[in-house]
């Protein structure tokens, strides 16, 4: 058990016991050893279910949006106590965006920020474990102390280990914000932010010709089944009614899952995430059809940074990138 | 091999539109004639059944057929403006073409009602599906097959009452007891004053049964459930058919129970969001019951056995 895990439990226990939070959102052991899963607890007795491991990939911010949408029952005084939540650096930036957009008042959330070196990709983990003959419950030790994230498991009595580089989520390899900025309490030591190419995922695409890119995306957009999971897991997709689902007064985007409508959906979503996507990578992780959504959103983030020196979720006082302008903004339209 | 396209509607033309009530949630009655002669002839429905109406380009919705099968050559639908399709229908004109498919659902078991006294209790737009039944019962061909008929109908204000002319006709008949009411309190802008509801005496809300009934009066100011208490139909050899907003139904049923009606004597209709109408698309289920196929007509007894999710 890691020290961070102990601290999370301690804090959660205290918060719940003192009634300072309405409930506490964190991570629990998942259905197999490749994955952790979210848990929401009300009872201080349950804090032992909370864990902290390199498998805590979910962005729990999505539940905050749920919370804000809840309407109190008629005649009932709404419980406006904050919600306790465990956040990695990226998730915390998501909460900052929600503050910025007046979706979530600061006093409604109690953020436990954790500096994070990156999380393990459950699929990679599974693949590597399989390759090394490890079963789905054979990984018993996930060490995230200090620099190394080591996974150790046992296959037929022999210890097998594989290092973090093999299993890290792609988005974590490109992350340059390891430390949460906005939080009520922080657990763990500050981590030096690495110098990596944060837009590495789109470099290859940028080097392609127009035709090659068109071809690349064509196959991908055709594959989408429009299950909408990408927008349901996204904490930034909080609209009551999504523009692509709206039927009144007209339907902008047909429900038909053909290339044209799928592309419409994904590009509109990309536009709506400009300066808002904090690259938690949840959409890409959950997509059953392996659509490289980050390759769209990272491009948008890059442009926002290049053109308007704006990066999502860094400063809650700043106006969102499309809600403001400078007279001397780049102008290609003269 | 079945090659019939179950989802393809037949074309039908709107031949008449009557405005029943105005306002944001206005009610209109559409008289619809199926274009194809063969299809029209074969479209036979049971009172209480439904049909899918299409406005091409907008979508499709299911509606109770509000005309009885005894009216040949056309169908009527009384429709309140609430959603996409109903709004589009309300904007249509006489001569416009819509799509229709059906009839769907179980309808009322008319054979079981034969020889029995029939009590119809409709609240608001809930009168629409009942109309297909009482008009069937009151039709010259079938009137003799049924016993006494009591018709109770209420709406918010006199202006909200549908089928006004028809009720005037029914009122003149002596083989049916018609009782109507308007909500005693609410006009569209709140309280209505006495003058606006002239000729609609108030029923004592605390104890409706004690209200003195002036000779020949059958217009009241009260809620439908209270009117049921006043009219106090006997449960003996009777069936009660009720339809309306859930809250009205709830109290109507309570009052019927007080009068001694058993659960299998009380029929009501359920509704749910539907897309296909033929038990495929999945959304209209209450437990293992598909409302579109097994309903919309259920007895109180059946409803009590369901998972309470409607």
């Amino acid at each position: 058990m890691s020290k961070i895990e102990d601290e999370i439990r301690g804090i959660a226990k205290k918060l719940l016991e003192e009634g300072k939070v309405k409930y506490f959102t964190g991570y629990a052991k998942g259905p197999d050893s490749f994955r952790a899963r979210p848990i929401i607890i009300d009872d201080p007795k349950d804090v032992d279910k909370l864990i902290w491991s390199p498998c805590c990939v979910n962005n729990l911010g999505v539940y905050l949006v749920d919370e804000m949408k809840k309407k109190p029952k008629r005649g009932e005084e709404p419980d406006t106590r904050p919600v306790g939540i465990v956040t990695k650096a990226c998730d915390a930036r998501g909460i900052t965006v929600l503050h910025q957009e007046n979706i979530l008042p600061k006093e409604r959330v109690y953020v436990i920020g954790i500096p994070c070196r990156g999380m393990a990709d459950p699929e990679k983990l599974e693949k590597h474990a399989r390759k090394k003959g490890l079963g789905h419950d054979a990984i018993y030790n996930m060490d995230i102390k200090e620099e190394k994230m080591m996974f150790t498991g046992e296959a037929e009595g022999v210890k097998v280990a594989f290092p973090r580089e093999e299993v890290l989520l792609d988005k974590c390899k490109e992350c340059v914000h390891h430390n949460p900025r906005e939080y009520d309490i922080v657990i763990g030591k500050r981590i030096e932010n690495p110098h990596v190419d944060k837009y590495a995922t789109i470099r290859e695409l940028e080097d392609m010709s127009l035709e090659e890119r068109e071809k690349f995306w064509e196959m991908i957009f055709e594959r989408c089944i429009r299950c909408n999971a990408c927008k349901e897991v996204c904490p930034m997709c909080y609209c009551e009614e999504c523009t692509v689902e709206k039927a009144k007064p007209m339907r902008w985007c047909s429900k038909s899952a053909d290339k044209s409508n799928n592309e419409f959906f994904h590009l509109i979503r990309a536009m709506h995430l400009v300066g808002r996507c904090i690259d938690c990578g949840e959409c890409e992780r959950v997509c059953p059809m392996a659509i490289p959504l980050r390759k769209l959103y990272r491009k948008m983030a890059k442009e926002a940074e290049k053109l308007y020196s704006y990066e999502a979720g860094l400063n809650p006082e700043e106006d969102p990138v499309f809600a403001t302008f400078r007279v001397d903004d780049d102008d290609e339209f003269e | 091999m079945s090659t019939e396209n179950l989802y393809k509607p037949h074309l039908a033309t709107i031949t008449e539109i009557r405005e029943e009530a105005t306002g944001e949630r206005g009610i209109k009655t559409f008289k619809v004639r199926i274009n194809d002669d063969e299809v029209r002839k074969n479209f036979k429905h049971i009172p209480g059944q439904c049909a899918m109406l299409s406005v091409f380009g907008v979508g499709e919705s299911i509606f109770g057929i509000s005309s009885p099968p005894t009216w040949k050559d056309f169908l009527e639908f009384t429709i309140m403006r609430v959603g996409n399709v109903t709004s589009a229908l309300h904007m249509m004109n006489v001569g416009d073409v819509i799509g229709i498919r059906g009839p769907y659902g179980n309808g009322f078991p008319m054979d079981e009602f034969k020889g029995k006294n029939c009590i119809f209790i409709g609240a608001g737009v809930g009168i629409a599906p009942l109309r297909s039944v009482y008009q069937y019962v009151l039709s010259p061909e079938h009137r003799k097959e049924f016993g006494d008929v009591l018709l109770i109908y209420g709406a918010r204000t006199p202006a909200d009452l549908a089928y006004k002319e028809e009720f005037e006709e029914i009122d003149k008949r002596d083989d049916v007891d018609l009782q109507m009411c308007i909500d005693w309190k609410f006009g569209p802008e709140g309280m209505i004053d006495e003058d606006a509801a002239k000729g609609w005496p108030k029923i004592k809300m605390s104890c409706p049964a004690e209200t003195e009934i002036p000779e020949g009066c059958n217009h009241w100011t009260c809620f439908v459930p209270q009117l049921v208490e006043v009219a106090a139909p006997s449960p003996e050899n009777a069936v009660a058919l009720t339809c309306g907003p859930p809250i009205a139904i709830k109290f109507v049923v309570q009052n019927l129970e007080k009068l001694g009606f058993s659960d299998d004597q009380v029929y009501t209709t359920l509704e749910n969001r539907m897309k296909c109408g033929i038990g495929k698309c999945g959304r209209c289920n209450i437990g293992e019951i598909y409302v579109c196929k097994d309903g919309p007509v259920f007895t109180r007894e059946q409803i009590k056995k369901m998972f309470q999710e409607f």
């Binding site: 998942g30 259905p31 994955r35 899963r37 979210p38 929401i40 979910n58 999505v62 699929e123 789905h136 196959m219 089944i225 299950c227 909408n228 999971a229 349901e232 897991v233 339907r251 047909s254 429900k255 038909s256 959950v286 059953p288 059809m289 392996a290 | 091999m1 079945s2 090659t3 396209n5 179950l6 989802y7 393809k8 074309l11 091409f56 380009g57 907008v58 979508g59 499709e60 609430v82 959603g83 996409n84 399709v85 799509g99 749910n272 969001r273 897309k275 296909c276 033929i278 038990g279 495929k280 698309c281 999945g282 959304r283 209450i286 437990g287 293992e288 196929k293 998972f307 309470q308 409607f310």
Partner: protein, 343 residues
């Protein structure tokens, strides 16, 4: 027809004999295995735990045209194109094959769905024994087997360098082309080997749940607080139902382009509020708990009540792909354990 053996290197030849069929087979695209029309036999992958998308889309496509309409010069409605070509569905896992029988019940009861039926009738299904089940597979708990032949026309079992081929139906006989040249008779050794592989596969399905009693227990749990608790972390994404081989709900919408358009049906999911909301704004299943509950109830109580079959084949997709780790097997186990406290 008697059982047969086909050498793996004869597969391309066999497939070329079947040019009158449109062949759908599992392909790997990026990291996902999906059923696609086969253009090149070398691109087919047969070593996979299970395809991400079940092959239900062959019979019940994500998007299907119901009819076309034209508003001018006069209103006209014209038939949708029927899926008429002969289809060969190759490499289907036994669990997915069983799902077709479950879908049949729904699409054939009372009114027959002509689009589904047409596609179904035109299709020959060749199954492939599941030799390395995934750790989330639990087919044996819901009446399946990794080598079940239910719903299949042909079942093949991988014996290393060759396949053991069982022809199960008349439709299946039609795809056995050039039997003398391409196929041979199985030996006792082949049979024994197949038996061993079957046994091994079955023993590898380790996830299991006793579904006996779940139906009745669910009946007691309709109002249970358990569902509030269970659905708390559900994000309502709908992946579980989109990837489910037996989920069959659909939405019908119009795709309008001014003077003409078409009506389409598209997959829908009971996990979103829009699924049941009435035009009036009232929603009989307003919360996540109602929706999650409905899904479990539908699979293990409503569907069995109506059609006498559990609407789950134990493919494990909803477990593997749930973003928040909701596990149907675990849910069922919990359901059996829940004790209702009277209040």
């Amino acid at each position: 027809m008697d059982d047969m053996i086909i050498k793996k290197d004869k597969l391309p030849k066999w497939s070329s004999e079947l040019s009158d069929y449109k062949i759908f087979a599992p392909h790997r695209e990026d990291d996902v295995v999906i059923f696609k029309e086969m253009k090149n036999v070398n691109k087919v992958v047969l070593h996979y735990a299970n395809s991400v998308m079940p092959p239900k889309e062959i019979f019940f496509p994500q998007t299907q045209e119901l009819f076309k309409y034209e508003k001018s010069p006069e209103m006209k409605v014209s038939e949708a194109e029927l899926p008429l070509e002969k289809v060969l569905l190759f490499g289907v896992r036994p669990c997915d094959a069983r799902s077709f029988l479950i879908m049949d019940k729904l699409f054939y009861w009372d009114y027959e769905d002509h689009l589904y039926k047409q596609a179904r009738d035109n299709t020959v299904i060749i199954g492939l024994t599941c030799t390395s089940p995934h750790h989330n597979c639990f087919c044996t708990s819901v009446g399946g087997k990794p080598y079940s032949n239910e719903g299949l026309d042909v079942l093949m079992t991988d014996l290393g360098d060759r396949y053991y081929v069982e022809v199960l139906t008349e439709k299946g006989e039609d795809v056995i082309r050039k039997p003398d040249e391409l196929f041979s008779k199985p030996t006792d050794k082949d049979r024994k080997e197949r038996g061993e592989i079957w046994e091994k596969a079955e023993s590898e399905v380790t996830k299991n749940v006793e579904v006996e009693g779940v139906h009745d227990k669910l009946g007691e749990l309709f109002e249970s607080k358990y569902w509030d608790e269970k659905s708390r972390t559900c994000v309502g994404c709908g992946i579980c139902s989109f990837l489910c081989p037996t989920c069959h709900c659909f939405d019908i919408t119009d795709e309008d382009c001014g003077n003409c358009g078409r009506r389409i049906r598209t997959w829908d999911t009971c996990m979103i509020p829009e699924y049941t909301v009435h035009a009036s704004g009232y929603n009989p299943r307003p919360g996540k708990k109602n929706r999650l509950k409905n899904r479990v109830f539908h699979k293990f109580r409503y569907f069995p009540d109506r059609f006498d079959a559990i609407a789950c084949v134990g493919c494990g997709r909803c477990i593997s792909k749930c973003p928040v780790g909701i596990d149907i097997v675990e849910t069922l186990e919990e359901v059996k354990e829940v004790e209702e406290v009277e209040e």
